[in-house]
């Protein structure tokens, strides 16, 4: 009976809230925007009940600033927005990258550019999520395609951001954010929760941006007695601005190293019937669901089709993509943009397979029939 009690019909945005609270999120600052509004709305009542803080800020620039401040003070922090707000967040997102402040940013994509299509689904922020803020920086971007994944990947997003001291973007499309499915919230199932590593040395020995083998320095909460300097300027291991080439090089390379040493830990995806597939579809978000249906239909008609679903968009899942490029004759990348992930697939292809794209930018989801049409065309 107890299990049945926990079974709920949740919207993607609601599952993200549940995941965030389960992961230990205790601070949210944001500005409501369609189609991400439910996340703010629900957290505004849920956070105070767990001694957390919710602030509706004056805009998204300030939202991101507040998130960084709260995280530096030790709270697991997040914000949620859509394209126009995500654009405003880019400046401070860069600050979170250089100052290595863990935080989670949910971007429920709408059609763009600018205010674009507020209520229609899109997947056109894939590149913005990677390169929206200026300068060389690694970025972790996760993308759910089910309500279960909204919950699980939000927890994962917090864990990765705490572990690697890097912002993590949860990139969601409107279909998934507003879709409702059954989910059993498993209060009893053991879930790994990762909390940032804190310094064990006395405050006077603490080196805030020390280069360690993992590349991830221990992080002290502000107000705990560990005094250190946080800046958006490129800094030395003590956190003070530097212009020494050897220190700059060390710093930037460490930022990349801490991520690139651990791709396997952050790259999540699913191979479906790809072992013998002649045609493999590579898809993510809501389109991965259409693609699965198309693959099932194709198999029923005797076409050897398969699906690689990407749950991690950045760092790009090169190993997994290369695998299907080598085993399939053709790869189809359907996406609701003019070709953002397909660009990456083509980059790593090196002639191993023929790469085809389906680009839909009319504010509606790509249907199984459209993918099926392409499968028939190329086979």
């Amino acid at each position: 009976m107890k299990r049945k009690d926990q079974e709920k019909l949740l919207q993607g945005n609601e599952a993200i809230v549940e995941g965030a609270l389960r992961a230990g999120c205790r601070f949210f600052a944001g500005y409501p925007i369609t189609p991400a509004t439910e996340i703010s709305e629900i957290l505004s009542t849920r956070l105070p009940k767990v001694d957390g803080t919710f602030i509706q800020m004056e805009d998204e620039i300030a939202s991101m600033g507040a998130v960084i401040g709260a995280s530096l003070a030790g709270a697991k922090s997040m914000t949620a927005t859509s394209g126009p707000g995500f654009s405003l967040m880019q400046e401070n997102l860069g600050f979170a990258c250089i100052a290595e402040v863990p935080c989670v940013v949910v971007n429920v994509m709408r059609g763009g550019p600018s205010t674009g299509l507020p209520t229609s689904p899109s997947q056109s922020d894939v590149m913005q999520a990677r390169w929206g803020t200026h300068g060389d920086h690694p970025m972790i971007v996760l993308c759910p395609s089910t309500i279960r994944e909204c919950y699980d990947l939000t927890i994962r997003a917090f864990n990765l951001s705490e572990k690697y001291r890097n912002p993590v973007i949860l990139l969601v499309d409107e279909v998934i954010a507003h879709m409702r499915e059954k989910i059993t919230l498993d209060g009893s199932r053991p879930i790994d929760i990762f909390n940032r590593v804190k310094p064990t040395v006395p405050p006077e020995w603490y080196i805030p941006y020390e280069d360690t083998p993992t590349g991830i320095p221990a992080m002290a909460d502000f107000g705990e007695g560990y005094r250190y300097h946080v800046t958006g300027l490129t800094h030395d291991i003590r956190g003070f601005p530097t212009s020494k080439p050897e220190e700059i090089d060390l710093f930037i390379r460490r930022l990349f190293r801490k991520i690139s040493q651990n791709f396997a830990d952050m790259q999540i995806g699913e191979f479906y019937q790809t072992e013998d597939a002649e045609i493999t579809v590579i898809a993510y978000g809501c389109v991965a669901r259409s693609a699965k249906r198309a693959v099932i239909d194709a198999r029923e008609r005797g076409i050897r089709a398969g699906l690689l679903k990407l749950n991690t968009l950045w760092p790009f899942m090169r190993t997994q993509v290369e695998k299907v490029l080598h085993t399939s004759d053709c790869v189809i990348v359907p996406e609701m943009n003019m070709g953002q992930v397909s660009r990456e697939v083509k980059r790593v292809n090196k002639g191993a397979a023929k790469v085809f794209t389906i680009n839909k930018v009319d504010g509606t989801i790509i249907t199984p029939q459209e993918i099926m049409g392409k499968i028939r065309e190329v086979c």
Binding site: V175, H178, M179, E181, K292, T367
Partner: protein, 195 residues
């Protein structure tokens, strides 16, 4: 072999279609225990404009979450009936709110004046969606009357339970009646052909 049952609830913004979709999905998913995926599409307007909610039902995990060929279409205004009736399967069920839908392209549609009933009996257009849910539970077998009643009562605001239960039961009676009428007219059709 798995089955898939695709439902679209359509009309204009403000008619409560999305809430209807949520309640229907909860009834089928949580109370009747099947797999469901509920999606929606709506314009930027709070009222007016086109609005639709879709519920896909299956006995296994659902891949494509939007409705494809429809097993059930509920049209709460003329435009949605015009736009979507061709998406119905040949054996699909069409239920229209005959308060607003006067031109019906299919012979075998269930015509029930949900909004007029809501207005006359309850003095509130608002409960037309709940009346329609009651009718769905009798006209089709996709959701049980018991499940829909539990789901309605779990979702509606406190203090409105009686109003909504009455509306739902009124819808069930109307649905039952429409179904009987349809069955008898089908019999007469066959008899006419035979003679």
């Amino acid at each position: 072999m798995s089955y898939r049952y695709d439902i679209r609830l359509s009309g204009s913004g403000g008619q409560g279609l999305i809430l209807m979709g949520i309640i229907l999905a909860e009834a089928i998913g949580l109370h009747d225990g099947k797999y469901v995926a509920q999606t929606q599409s709506y314009g930027p307007e709070a009222r007016g404009g086109s609005s639709k909610a879709e519920v896909v039902v299956s006995d296994e995990e659902i891949d494509y979450p939007k409705a494809m060929k429809l097993d059930l279409l509920v049209a709460m205004n003329q435009k949605s009936c015009d736009d979507y009736s061709m998406d119905l399967k040949s054996e699909g069920v069409l239920i229209v709110d005959s308060t607003f839908v006067t031109q019906i392209p299919l012979q075998g549609a269930y015509r029930i004046p949900f909004t007029r009933m809501a207005r006359e009996k309850f003095k509130r257009d608002m409960v037309a969606n709940i009346i329609a849910l009651g009718a769905i539970s009798k006209v089709t077998s996709i959701v049980s009357p018991k499940a829909i009643e539990s789901a309605v009562l779990a979702r509606v605001p406190k203090g409105t339970e009686k109003l909504n239960r009455d509306a739902l039961r009124m819808g069930m009676r109307a649905g039952q009646k429409a179904k009987q009428l349809m069955a008898s007219s089908a019999v007469s059709l066959i008899e006419n052909e035979d003679t």
